[in-house]
Amino acid sequence: MSLTARRGAADQARNRTFGPLYSRNARAVISRGMKATMGGHWLVMLSGFFEPVLFLVSMGVGMGAIVGAVEGPDGTPVSYAAYIAPALLAVSAMNGAVYDSTWNVFFKMNFAKLYQGMLYTSLGPLDIALGEIFLALLRGMLYATGFTAVMAMMGLITTPWALLMIPASVLIAFGFASLGMAVTSFMKTFQQMDWITFIMLPMFLFSATFYPLTVYPQPIQWLIQAMPLWHGVELLRQISVGTFTAATPLHIGYYLVMTALGMLFTTVRLRQLFLK
């Protein structure tokens, strides 16, 4: 390539007009993430896939043998494994998104100084946020697809509706990732990061993941219904059998609002953090 043509390319990049926050180049952040993953992290990524599978096998198959059949979302009995599988999928969507948008971002922000380097280029903070969230969602989608395949192999899928669990998982991941990133922007120390685990673990255990919500007294039910994971568990459970109720759009709406607020919150925080 001639020197003039190459200079032309550089000039072209210079002459675009962008706001200070966003340069419409999130794909550069995405391709960086892919390259970094190919370079060495893909084995670590596999662990995120196996975690819900191991839960499904131990709880679903092991405990399921004692529990037997339980009442499914549409009132007909389903195996215990089929009952908890969609819930575990929701949990894995949450965990993957939260891990990517909190610990990963925390490390890159405070230790690897990766974002500081990016921000000295034409990238704006919003390019970085969108790129990282996209990567988190892509990873979440791969996990969801794998897990759904495992469910199919275990004979836990009875309707084509169940395929919709994959996009629904991405929506759940989107909600958690956008909010997680905003929350991480406040974190300065590892001790503060532990608070995230402190909130996630009870949410995982008590959001009607392993048994129905009706075992709790009414005030506790309200509390759990206010938390995001319960909506994800219920949504995927309904999709897994293809039964939809008036609550279905409510669950979806919950995540749409969560995503919108999370993105807004993240943008405001990035502005405060990086354009000071």
Binding site: N15, R16, G117
Partner: protein
């Protein structure tokens, strides 16, 4: 403003910089709470010039660099980079800039050559441009044989050279270098200076901060001496030395106990006397004859050294403090 009517073509307002000016700062100020990190500094830099900010740690050099890059917003004052305001046109301004930060922030998850390619993608540059450019820059940074290495396998000097190569990926018109050789051994520093000098020869505008005198003298055409966020002096290294110091300096050590007490006995020798905890500096046009005068008074220093004045002396004169303490 009245000048504008008389000399419309040369009036140097922020909106219309003088021809060839790439950076104009007027009254640039940055405060954090009540602390002024940068306290109303003004300077301008011409294209192709090599401009230095010299000062101790905490003088406001890095903050000034961050404001130029548009990653820190100024509190007050005017700033134009290639005619653009970095606060409102951050991405566009940075497309003209190459930045070498104080701490290496190379992407440790990527290999050496990928660091260049991926960084170029952040500017939105196509791979067809980036691939030959990356190879050319690896050659320039003397890292061609390390192209496939992991970043953490590189030495400190190599990492710095890779960071500089990375900063050149977008063919910047202005290169910002924040303490480029801090922490490097002398050999690595000289290699780096050589590379920077080549860039200067190619017409790249260099803006560098440093607290090393020798670095400023080697690389800067012109510099400002900054202390506590204010400009203490401005000019070429030679001019600053001429204006604020004598031609030579006689350094005497009498042992830490006696340096202060002996100062009285040295009175009258040379033009000026500076007493530091570890040594006494006598500023004189002729250092050797000053040393003879010291001997003629019957004083016997433990060690004596005659040297040329440096920017360190300028800084000491201007602030009453030494640069690296």
């Amino acid at each position: 403003m009245h000048n504008e009517a008389i000399l419309p073509s040369t009036a140097n307002t922020a909106g219309a910089p003088a021809p060839g000016t790439v950076i104009t700062a007027e009254n640039l100020t940055k405060t954090y709470g009540n602390v002024a990190a940068v306290d109303g500094i003004s300077f301008s830099v011409r294209a192709g010039e090599s401009f230095g900010l010299l000062g101790p740690n905490g003088a406001g050099k890095s903050t000034t660099m961050k404001m130029i890059g548009g990653v820190t917003r100024r509190t007050a004052g005017n700033l134009r980079i290639m005619g653009l305001d970095p606060d409102t046109h951050g991405p566009e301004v940075r497309a003209h800039l190459g930045v070498v930060p104080q701490q290496d922030n190379l992407d440790e998850e990527l290999r050496v050559r990928d660091n260049l390619l991926v960084y170029g993608r952040y500017f939105g540059l196509p791979l067809s441009y980036l691939k030959p450019k990356a190879d050319e820059l690896l050659e320039f940074a003397q890292l061609t044989d390390k192209a496939k290495s992991k970043v953490d396998a590189l030495s400190g000097g190599m990492k710095r050279r890779l960071t500089i190569a990375r900063s050149l990926i977008n063919e910047p018109r202005i290169l910002l270098l924040d303490e480029p050789t801090t922490g490097l051994d002398p050999q690595a520093r000289h290699i780096l200076w050589d590379r920077l000098f080549r860039l200067k020869e190619q017409g790249v505008t260099l803006i560098l901060t440093t607290h090393y005198m020798d670095e400023a003298e080697q690389l800067c055409d012109r510099l400002i001496v900054v202390d506590k966020g204010r400009i203490m002096a401005e000019g070429s290294p030679a001019r600053l030395i001429r204006e604020h110091s004598t031609r030579e300096v006689l350094e005497l050590r009498f042992g830490s106990e006696r340096n202060t007490t002996i100062a009285v006995e040295l009175d009258g020798i040379g033009e000026r006397l500076e007493v530091l905890p570890d040594r006494v500096l006598i500023y004189a046009a002729d250092g050797e004859s000053a040393l003879e005068q010291v001997a003629s008074r019957g004083l016997r220093p433990l060690t004596s050294l005659v040297r040329r004045s440096s920017l360190e002396d300028v800084f000491l004169r201007l602030t009453g403090r030494s640069l690296v303490d």
